[in-house]
Amino acid sequence: MSAASPATAAVRTPMAAIAHWLQRETGAREVRITRLERLPGGAIQENWTLDVTIVGGEWAGVHEWVLRTDAPSFVVASLTRSQEFAVLRVAHANGVIVPQPLFVCGDDTVTGRQFFVMKRIPGIAAGHRLTRDPGLIPDGEALAETLGANLARLHAIAPPQPALDRVLPPPKSNHALATVADYRAYVDTRNDAHPALEWALRWCEIHAPRPAAATLIHRDYRTGNYMVDAGRLTGVLDWEFAGWGDPSEDLGWFTARCWRFARPDLEAGGIARSEAFLDGYEGASGRQVTRRDLEYWQVMAQIRWAIIALQQAQRHLAGGERSLELALTGRIVHELEYEVLAIIAEARQ
């Protein structure tokens, strides 16, 4: 096991290939890459700073972009880069605040992996920083309201969407029950049993809400996955888990306790009260969100995070990726179980 990242060599050597590919995409006479550097974070996908100088063609000039590609090591059930690009393009076209998608390379012979290029947006995404440093978000309520309204624009996108036909699996007739079945299928592959998760899944089965009309949902819309610059939302990142589903799933995920970082008392992603977020959402969507709906999808959010934590632990123990960070992520399961039981206890009253 070497500590050096194989990704460095894998993408750096095809710099010329990327430049050549961009030249064709932009119809330029010449494309010079002046900077290509891996950005921190991203266990599944990698983001690279991409600065280019383009000579000739409609893109002539100096540009600050980001290149997003798969990490070499690990693949969970999520979208490919070209599928993610298609979703991002639909979201952008419908007014969702995202980094503008520019070019996609679905041909993995160019660099060895699929990738796409988007405009670079300014700001900070790190959840522990955003929830700890009030200087970064002077008005949390206003930001939460913007995030709610922004999510409403995403949820206004309903199937069928020709651009997403062959990109996303068709919506399930009952998203909540289909989600329970998915999580059970994973739990059943494991050697160990987790009664608290099993009970939370049973609770979600018994209390499943009436099926809602499916919309496009992000499935990882939360603090840590959006960029904030001078207190304002500059874009929502990481669209790899997007799909058709019950829009309330995104609301539960955003407000779930596990995504409040330093401020567990602020239900809206550790930045504001839930009212501000829901006001923005309800105002822009015309949908009413009930407390019951929110709690239901918060329970589902905790289950989902617990399952991801179990998967991370498995990568460390059995997946050939020895890592203290993955091992410790597995230990989060206890806390997630404890919290999910607390939400269920409250909902029972």
């Binding site: 049993a193 899944l201 410790l328 269920i344």
Partner: protein, 139 residues
């Protein structure tokens, strides 16, 4: 764990190593290595606490789980033996009963919730005791 012995046991060694790391080494680490230092401290703390109370947590869970299954009239396979394998089998039996709807009824649900919450809180006090304090609950 090591009451009969006047030298440090495993739990005390880990706890002491954790203190030495966080007090003496962590401040010296360059910023970009600090996170690794914090993770090691976290791991040592968890391991030390698990050595102290993990076995008792498991024993309590096994006992409660067996009682819960018995009270719900769920027969246990006679092959369940004592020891760590027993707990794994009890958990599996409980999971099967939960999925089959044996704890849907309100009274059974309350007993199940009590058992699961107790088990979870025992393990949170090992994995991340701060999380118990932040929700205003503790032992």
């Amino acid at each position: 764990m090591n009451a009969m012995c006047d030298i440090s046991g495993a739990a005390d060694l880990l706890a002491t190593a954790c203190d030495a790391l966080t007090q003496e080494l962590l401040p010296l680490l360059p910023k970009e290595r600090r996170y690794v230092g914090l993770m090691i401290g976290n791991a040592l703390g968890i391991a030390s606490r698990e050595l102290q109370t993990g076995a008792a947590a498991d024993a309590g869970e096994a006992q409660r789980c067996a009682m819960l299954l018995a009270r719900s009239g769920i027969p246990l396979s006679p092959s369940i033996e004592a020891g760590p394998a027993a707990l794994a089998q009890l958990r599996r039996a409980l999971c099967d009963a939960i999925r089959a709807g044996r704890f849907d009824e309100s009274g059974a649900q309350a007993a199940l919730m009590e058992h699961l919450t107790r088990t979870a809180s025992d393990w949170v006090s090992i994995s991340n005791p701060k999380a118990l304090n932040s929700t205003g609950e503790g032992e």
